[in-house]
């Protein structure tokens, strides 16, 4: 008995210490991944949702890395202006067939040259529905694309020689080419796309710092790509993307000088960050617009009655007050459906006064609508509560209640998924929050996907023939000013119909540590990494 007791104690202790040891065993390895070498800038990031394949990257966490690893035919500079990247020229006589000529000195970071086939193969792969790439729909502008049938090779793509290919596509096609979906892929990618996504090889300013540089949920280490030849210069040695679960932790690290660049200030620190960071704080206009969309099929919001109610709801909102109180002045009130950082932004459109606060007029319009058919019950304004939106949605509901004398209340969805489901099924039952970040800095991209009849993200189910025609004409227009004029005209139709109510452009907020300089943010709210200097 005595012996069994001792044995028992031994087993228990052995088991307990095994637990402890298993916990401690791997402690030695990781500490090398931090901000080791000088000249490597550390930047906050979130874990990419999927493997780092450009055509499959649809969110910011992966997008930042992909944009650093690749260079497309063109790129957008800090002002959102298109500049030539791998392309030497993109020309067309008829705005339908485009001839793309490549620089002959561009190479992937593994040393293989960037040829016409690298673009054509990558695009055909991405457009083939069988490969289920998140950005597949982006290739719908190219001739021969099919959304449902697997197409091995699109008829609109033809290789002329090693450095030339032609594309039969829509007229706005060249504007889009800076977007990550259009990056080229080296031949090795097609052998095993899943493995490639974990250890991608690009042709950009940076490359992965060796195999397994992507430590999931911890960091992604990039170093300067010395094989890069091209129009841009890199002023630092590399980028260490640190993955944070919360922006608050990242902000704390910025204050403690453990992080060089933070590209978004957590909303809990809006009121203090300019004071805490001083001239290291950044606050400028961004490409993300926030709107309240109202389905065209919602009772009381159709026809003439709907027009009146939509205008009333828009004019009953004091955007400045919400921005001041809730966003601490980091957002900019909307004057159109695009964003100040894109080509085609306007603040003097006819009918834009519907976006200005005017409680008396709002009340009058609402009463006129009630005369057609009285609105009873509660007007619910919907959002998901797993993001930072609940506070301002409540403010919107309060302002409607106060300024229109109706009952309004927030409708909260527990998750973004559930919210999206109801939006797509058209059963939200009231105005709902929507946001749009442009894929490229052009006004067309802020209207076509959202308001064109039957478009993928047209969650308000808006349809207006005159609007569609104007967009079609604008996309075929080769003269820049004439195109913008058409787009402005289209926006004026939107202002009259208000399929969604533009609220504000989300500001770009950020900051940097004392050890880096030259921090500027591009049109898409992402810092221009290659220009940042350190040490």
């Amino acid at each position: 008995m005595k012996r069994s007791k001792k044995a028992l104690g031994f087993i228990a202790l052995a088991a307990a210490s095994a637990l402890v040891l298993s916990g401690c065993s791997s402690s030695g390895e990781g500490s090398g991944g931090g901000a080791a070498g000088s000249g490597i800038i550390t930047v906050n990031n979130t874990e990419p949702q999927k493997g780092l394949v450009p055509a499959d990257t649809t969110e910011v966490g992966g997008g930042k890395v992909v944009d650093a690893l690749w260079e497309g035919l063109v790129y957008y500079d800090a002002d959102g202006v298109t500049q030539m990247g791998v392309a030497e020229s993109i020309e067309s006589d008829d705005q339908v067939t485009w001839t793309v000529k490549l620089r002959d000195d561009a190479v992937f970071s593994d040393g293989t040259p960037v040829l016409a086939k690298n673009f054509v193969d990558a695009w055909n792969y991405a457009a083939n529905v069988d490969n289920a790439m998140g950005n597949q729909y982006f290739f719908s502008v190219i001739e021969g694309f099919s959304e449902t049938e697997p197409v091995e090779a699109m008829s609109g793509l033809k290789i002329v020689d090693d450095h030339t290919f032609t594309v039969a596509a829509t007229p706005d096609f060249p504007d889009r080419l800076g977007y990550s979906a259009y990056y080229p892929l080296p031949d090795v990618a097609f052998e095993d796309m899943e493995a490639f996504g974990q250890n991608p090889i690009g042709n950009g300013l940076y490359k992965l710092d060796g195999e397994d540089a992507w430590k999931h949920n911890e960091s992604i280490a990039l170093v300067k790509n010395d094989t890069y030849v091209g129009p841009r210069e890199v002023a630092n040695e590399g980028i260490d993307f640190k993955i944070y679960a919360s922006l608050d932790a990242a902000y704390t690290d910025l204050l403690a000088n453990n992080l060089d660049v933070l590209d978004q200030i957590p909303d809990t620190s809006f009121s203090v960050f300019q004071e805490e960071l001083g001239d290291r704080a950044i606050n400028q206009a961004g490409a993300l617009t926030t709107t309240l969309t109202i389905s065209e099929n919602l009772e009381h919001f159709t026809g003439e009655e709907g027009k009146l109610r939509r205008a009333a709801l828009s004019m009953a909102l004091d955007r400045d007050e919400i921005i001041d109180v809730i966003f601490e002045g980091t957002n900019i009130p909307a004057t159109d459906f695009t964003s100040p950082v894109v080509d085609g932004y306007a603040d003097d459109l006819a009918g834009a006064e519907v976006l200005e606060f005017n409680a008396d007029e709002a009340k009058k319009l609402w009463a006129e609508a009630d005369a057609i058919s009285p609105f009873t019950g509660t007007l619910e304004v919907a959002t998901n509560s797993d993001g930072p939106h609940q506070v301002w949605i409540e403010a919107v509901a309060n302002q409607w209640a106060n300024n229109l004398g109706i009952t309004a209340a927030p409708k909260l969805y527990p998750t973004f998924q559930a919210f999206l489901d109801d939006r797509e099924a058209d059963v939200v039952g009231g105005p709902f929050r929507a946001g749009w970040q442009g894929d490229y800095p052009g006004a067309y991209n802020y209207m076509q996907p959202l308001y064109y009849t039957g478009s993928s993200s047209n969650h308000g189910f808006y349809s207006n023939e005159a609007f569609d025609t104007l967009l079609d004409e604008a996309s075929r227009e080769s003269d820049h000013d004439a195109r913008i004029a058409k787009l402005n005209e289209a926006q004026e139709i939107l202002l009259a119909d208000l399929p969604s109510i533009p609220l504000w452009y989300q500001g770009t907020t950020g900051g940097h540590s004392e050890s880096v300089d030259n921090v500027a943010f591009g049109w898409n709210s992402v810092p221009i990494f290659n220009e940042i200097t350190k040490g």
Partner: protein, 308 residues
């Protein structure tokens, strides 16, 4: 005794089947389509969504999905996360970090609890005891995220004694601050249990007998009193370990610890069935294992307890 241990291990099987099924069902029943949510406001074509659902088995009925998942586990395949990493690798990367943090927190909490609890019990009703009880009460009633934020801001950011967040690889020195926060937030309950038990034991006959035999205080207190007072504390520690496995989510978020809590939280938000269920399964296993160890430790502390 071996029969007992074997029996306990066999018990794990139905518990595991039950929990995986329940968790799988709950994640499955969560509203929203995880595949559509990958794209946010930008909606890909239906065909692409269908292909993705196929890839993650989301197009199949619930039971088939669950059986496919179970089948995978039997050959050691826990499936893939959306970002293309095998779930088994995520498990292998995050669990050591969280266990390390939990063990550090337990050591801190137990150390505080046993030392302070013993002295408090020996000086029952004196000034030390009263002050200690008040402090314990305060720590029990402050929510952990408050302690965490104050510690991060004060000790980490302002004084610079600790790293305010945990860096890559989660080295021990970075984990110190979150471990202290967790330890401090947990110690009060164990301390009160130890104290009460010490007071109780001091009044037992065998303690009086020990003194009467002429044994010194230095022998009676550690060997006779403390040893007999530790059973409730040890039991509570097992519960604490369970709490730490799951409940460290808040702390892990604040200190950016690349551990279980963070990954699990994100996986739930994304609706990644395979990741969530695998994580919970491993948590259940650890919890059961710790409980077994604790049950065996009883026999060491109290010879009257035997397992047949």
């Amino acid at each position: 005794m071996l029969r007992y241990i074997l029996f306990r291990i066999l018990q794990v099987i139905p518990v595991l089947l039950g929990t995986t099924f329940l968790i799988y069902f709950m994640v499955f029943a969560m509203p929203g389509d995880p595949v559509a949510a990958m794209f946010g406001d930008k909606v890909p074509s239906d065909a692409v969504l269908e292909r993705l659902r196929e890839q993650y088995n989301l197009d199949k009925p619930f039971f088939i999905q669950y059986l496919l998942y179970l089948q995978g586990i039997f050959v050691g395949d826990f499936g893939m996360s959306f970002s293309g990493e095998p779930v088994s690798e995520i498990l292998a990367r995050t669990f050591p970090v969280t266990i390390r943090l939990a063990v550090m927190a337990i050591i801190i909490s137990l150390g505080l609890a046993i030392v302070i609890g013993l002295f408090s019990g020996l000086r029952k009703g004196k000034l030390f005891d009263n002050i200690n009880l008040i402090i314990g009460l305060i720590f029990m009633s402050i929510p952990i995220f408050v302690i965490a934020f104050i510690a991060q801001f004060g000790l980490g950011l302002k004084l610079g004694w600790f790293s305010p967040t945990v860096g890559a690889g989660a080295p021990i020195q970075d984990l110190l601050l979150p471990a202290i926060v967790l330890g401090v937030s947990l110690y009060a309950t164990s301390m009160r249990l130890t104290r009460a038990s010490v007071i109780d034991t001091l009044n037992q006959d065998f303690v009086r007998t020990a003194y009467a035999k002429g044994l010194s205080r230095g022998r009676v207190i550690p060997v006779h009193v403390l040893r007999n007072s530790l059973i409730p504390t040890i039991t509570n520690t097992a519960t604490d370990f369970g709490i730490l496995m799951v409940g460290a989510t808040v702390t892990e978020g604040i200190f950016n610890v690349p551990g279980v809590g963070n990954v699990l939280f994100n996986a739930i938000l994304k609706g990644e069935n395979t990741t969530v269920v695998s994580f919970v399964t491993v948590m259940v296993l650890i919890y059961l294992g710790v409980n077994l160890v604790v049950d065996l430790l009883y026999a060491v502390l109290d010879p009257r307890i035997r397992y047949v």
